[in-house]
Amino acid sequence: MPASTPVYGFTYPCPGEVVTPAAIALLAGQIDTKLSDVNNDRTAALNRRNRDSGGGPTQTIAAGVETVLTMPSSTYTIPGGEAGIWYVTVVLLPLSTPATSNMLRIRIMQNAVKRTAYTFNPETNNPQLFSCSAPILGAAGDVITTSFIYNGTGTIDVQATMTIKKFARLA
């Protein structure tokens, strides 16, 4: 009866057993698979997932309407095989001044559920660039988006950029 190594379970025949080609192939395949795993770890360690996207195109938002920003730079879908902790930072850039405004807020959403937010008070109707961050415990395919709302009158033009880096993986 074959024996195996304690951690990875590499299988080898015991002395006295007939060594078959299949036994040799099995061990070679097990080692090859593990080497492939380790190589994947190495690739991931040397190529940590990051993204920094520029803003645009500009989106015009109506007052009082919570709006999911649709520009490519304001959203990210976690790639396959990349489940883990992602650190997301969104920068909101107002590009126009509405007739009046007394509140601007962005929310970082994961599958349409709020994770974190930032509420800005432009009391003198002077919207400024501001940012919000969030750690996202994400699975492959999870969609991270940015929603925006402002309180006032008229419309406001905005752009957003989303910077993402992977902190940790789940396996």
């Binding site: 195996s4 061990l27 770890d41 007394n102 509140m103 009391e123 415990l137 902190f167 940790a168």
Partner: protein, 211 residues
């Protein structure tokens, strides 16, 4: 011995094939374990996420209040790959002793809402503070560094959301404080359910280089 030193059995030592395979299996495993552990450590930075499962109420005017688990808030831990079993801000559990000296990123998100009357344009302060042992006071601590954000209440019915972050070196003498403060004279302030706190180790101290 390296992998290339492994000898190949021949017709003269056929009986040694089983022994050779055993040696190959064990030798390969012993060489890969350390490498795999090192790579996994690089891919899985020690990270803890905690989120409040109930509102933290009664923050008093102009008083720094604790809005982390240390202040009595109920928190769950959606992610923890460290093996540390305590809360991020609990000094009695020794987070920094457990995770070791190094560079850390620490974060706080909270939504601060007035419990009653809202005082327009008053400040809301979100703070991550690091207190460290004070050598001049027996058993005392002093504030060493903090990451802080001050925002102003918009009085539009949504409270004030803010994120404070801090990147700093932590040692076993440090304690993390998760704090909030406000100037809402109309009422006390609550931190809504869903306050997030997080910590992630960036590196060990020997990797911190000042150029």
């Amino acid at each position: 011995m390296t992998v290339t030193d492994l000898s190949c059995p021949t017709g003269e030592n056929y009986a040694a094939i089983a022994l050779q395979m055993q040696e190959t299996a064990l030798e390969t495993e012993s060489r890969l374990i350390g490498l795999e552990q090192m790579l996994r450590a690089a891919n899985n930075r020690p990270t803890i996420l905690q989120v409040s499962t109930a509102a933290i109420t009664g923050l008093l005017l102009n008083v720094e209040g604790n809005i982390g688990p240390l202040g009595g808030g109920a928190f769950s831990t959606p992610f923890n790959n460290t093996g540390y079993a305590g809360n991020i801000d609990d000094p009695s559990q020794g987070l920094t002793t457990y995770l070791g000296d190094g560079m850390y990123e620490i974060g706080l998100y909270a939504n601060l809402v007035a419990s009653g009357a809202v005082t327009d344009n008053t400040y809301r302060m979100f703070t991550i503070a690091i207190d460290t042992l004070d050598p001049t006071v027996v058993g005392g601590f002093r504030r060493r560094v903090k990451g802080e954000l001050t925002l102003y209440e918009t009085n539009t019915g949504v409270g004030t959301d803010g994120v404070a972050t801090l990147e700093t070196r932590l040692t076993s003498q440090d304690q993390i404080r998760i704090l909030a403060k406000h100037g809402n004279t109309g009422s006390s302030v609550n931190a809504s359910i869903g306050t997030w706190i997080w910590i992630s180790k960036v590196s060990t101290p020997d990797a911190v280089v000042v150029v």
